[in-house]
Symmetry: C2
Subunit: 473 residues, 2 copies
């Protein structure tokens, strides 16, 4: 265990140094994140695909991550049950457009994870930072369970459980549990739990703060204790189904998958689930008793249970959907928790946007009209009125508005356009519109990935560590 303990200490010290201005010591938070014994039991895996150039190097690390598609360097890090999905990295020869600049790329982009500790974290997409378009670094960072690091280069940060950093370059920050940050660039901030912040400088600023007392029912995190609350209970309850999937070498979905769709072999598919054309089911997604209509997607770590998705619906990473009927083109953002009841189902009208990190948990039936935007905590019809707006109304807003715990400033139409463009991009990238000829995306490209599994040393001083592995095309 020696080398693994030294590795953990090294990471904890580096993150603590980065966060010294807050007097923040990560040790009491991080020490119970994963028992060391588990780190030497679980295996990692990476995809081998003809679509992505391989260029891995793992050094002095414990790894139970996966995909790692594209260029990857992992040094002095612990990556435990995480999805590092480098399948949208930028390629040499492309031109990266960002904030009015057109940046020619002279080399392939690479993910670099160094002196970091990621637990059940999703790292996806590519660096959205125009200052270093070929590097997507996650350095000196600890991300706790079920965080998403999405297109966001990170340095010296600590993310509490269920936090999402989206399209944001982050340096020396502490992000509270269940916070969602999409703010371009943030430095030296301590962000309270349950902060939903979407900012585009000069265009709009969306800021919602969860009521603290309510949030802790869902996510609670304190130094020295593992995360608690209903979100943790929800995922824990379904852990065993994943163990079964990870225990076989070549899993079978057990359902009919159309030729234009793909179901990852590390997804859980339970009874009475149906998959239509152009559907993408990513790894560690969980589907049960649900229908996914044409072009719908189920992203990593999402759960779709007893629900009906009409088509072209996006279930983003970590979202949980239970007893929901959804029209076409509904977007459910990261880590949202939509919990209907068998006798009080939730209906979401077409073209609606459920903001990332929204919690809808009502014991009465709720109906969200077509073309709505919903955010924050919704436990019944009154909350829904306070925490939603029609996209049409929002488009008309200039200057700002405030509703419930939401503070919005800037241009409503800019905000809606930005979201709609992004949803369109996600559907395109996932192959939702594939017509048999054009429009190929992940749903079509991900059908033929081989997986190599890797295990650490199981005894001796290197117990829990991986050998140096260098993989090239």
């Amino acid at each position: 265990m020696k080398a693994l303990e030294r590795l953990f200490e090294r990471i904890a010290q580096r993150v603590t140094i980065n966060l010294r201005e807050f007097g923040f010591d990560v040790h009491p938070y991080a020490e119970q994140l994963v028992p060391f014994e588990k780190l030497s039991n679980f295996y990692g895996f990476y995809g081998v695909s003809s679509q992505h150039p391989l260029d891995f190097k793992f050094l002095h690390s414990n790894l139970a991550g996966s995909y790692f598609l594209g260029k990857c360097r992992t040094t002095n890090s612990i990556v435990y049950k995480s999805d590092i999905r480098g399948d949208e990295l930028k390629k040499k020869g492309e031109v990266f457009k960002a904030q009015g600049f057109q940046i020619p790329l002279t080399r392939d982009e690479g993910i670099r994870i160094e002196d970091s500790f990621l637990v059940k974290t999703l790292v996806h997409n590519h660096s959205h930072d125009p200052e270093h378009p070929e590097r997507f670094p996650i350095c000196n960072t600890i991300a706790c369970r079920y965080c998403n690091i999405h297109g966001s280069p990170m340095d010296g940060s600590f993310l509490e459980p269920f936090a999402t950093i989206d399209l944001t370059t982050m340096n020396d920050c502490i992000v509270g549990a269940f916070s969602y940050i999409q703010a371009g660039e943030v430095h030296h901030l301590r962000i309270a739990p349950g902060t939903i912040w979407v900012k585009s400088p000069g265009r709009f600023n969306f800021l919602y703060q969860y009521p603290k007392d309510s949030l802790i029912r869902y996510v609670q995190f304190a130094p020295g204790f593992p995360a608690k609350g209903q979100l943790m209970n929800f995922v824990r309850k379904r852990k065993e189904d994943f163990q079964r999937v990870f225990a076989t070498v070549n899993g079978e979905a057990g359902i009919t998958v159309p030729g234009s769709a793909s179901v990852d072999r590390y997804a859980v598919i339970k009874f009475k689930t149906s998959i239509s054309d152009n559907v993408l089911v990513a790894q560690r997604a969980f589907l049960e008793n649900s229908r996914l209509g044409k072009g719908a997607n189920a992203q990593e770590n999402c759960y779709i249970i007893s629900s009906n998705l009409a088509g072209y619906d996006v279930t983003a990473h970590g979202a949980k959907i239970v007893e929901v009927d959804m029209g076409e083109m509904v977007f459910v953002g990261f880590n949202s928790f939509l919990r209907g009841r068998p006798d009080a189902r939730l209906a979401i009208g077409r073209d609606s946007i459920i903001m990332p990190h929204t919690i809808i948990d009502s014991d009465q039936p709720l109906h969200i009209p077509d073309g709505s935007l919903v955010w924050g905590l919704v436990t019944g019809p009154e909350d829904l009125a306070k925490n939603s707006i029609s996209l049409e109304e929002l488009r008309g807003i200039e200057g700002g508005f405030s509703r419930g715990r939401l503070f919005f400033e800037g241009s409503g139409s800019n905000f809606v356009d930005a979201f709609c463009q992004r949803i369109q991009h996600i559907l395109e990238a996932n192959g939702a519109f594939y017509d048999g000829n054009s429009g190929r995306g992940h749903a079509q490209k991900n059908q033929n990935i081989s997986f190599n599994t890797i295990q650490p040393y199981s005894e001796g001083a290197l117990k829990g560590m991986f050998p140096t592995i260098d993989i090239l095309p």
Copy 2:
């Protein structure tokens, strides 16, 4: 499939060039060895252990081999369902004793497989060639199903099914099916099927030739056809049990294994099998309804069915033992096929040596007395009389003798001593005499191996090929 076909062509051409003096074209033999489609389905795996320094490099190859422990370079090769077991490679700093020389080693020995095609082949041990003690090369060589390459550097050779090359440096040879060659150094020979040849220059020479008409009942191999015969039927019948073992990530033996013993997770253990102290069950061994007494071992690709091994018995690579009762310290050599019947069991007395590639297949009960040497084809009591001798009698022979199809010259006591020393060494290396403190061998050391599985590209021009993989400690 393009790259894989080119790779096969390259290997076939190189072996054919090496064997040009025989006018031998390997294509009609080799083409049906493995359908290309299968080469892109099966995964390879290698062990990660604290006992063996890792140093792999795989390049332009198709690999479904395993273990690969110790230093390994595989270039432009196809290694399909083979066991490359580099756990007895010589180490830097050791002194290698061979033929009166004491050779200091200044670097770790490495296995190098280059421009070769190995199908279900075992490669084990270390190079016994004092001319290049740090290199164990298998170059420009095709080995068909169930061959053993044991401590034998090879260049430019073609091995038909079930051939074994043991402690022999071989260059530009064709070795017939089911032949066993242990002859120090052989060059430019074409060896007929069913040749059993053990030669120690200046000491002894043992030569037996299977009757051709009888051998083809067991092994038959002709250009353009897959191997046929009872040995192939025997292994085919038990293929499905292995598929089950290879389909799970972490197999469980399902029986009680003493702390001093080890059962490889890639072995098949069927009902009513018991394992005593210091037993080693290697990968791809098959045990059913049998008892393995203290210090017995079941080596790679062996089958032990409805049999009773009293203890300190050696079942060498590829041996098949059915309905046999065995005393202590019995040695059953490579690829032997001992088939008793439920109503006509075979009894083998203690301290007996069953020569490699012996076939005992009698429908009458047979009893082999203590301290016997048995060879060749034995289908009943008459054959047994012709094809055996007591070790005591053999020790007294000087100059030579002939019996049945056996021709022996040299010193009988030298021959017996050489065999007994080797058996002793095998038991020691496998940890059969471990007393809780000293005498650790494979049975104790192999308990904590992690396995990494690797899969080839599953589509595109590289279909069936592996990326370059470089693994260091």
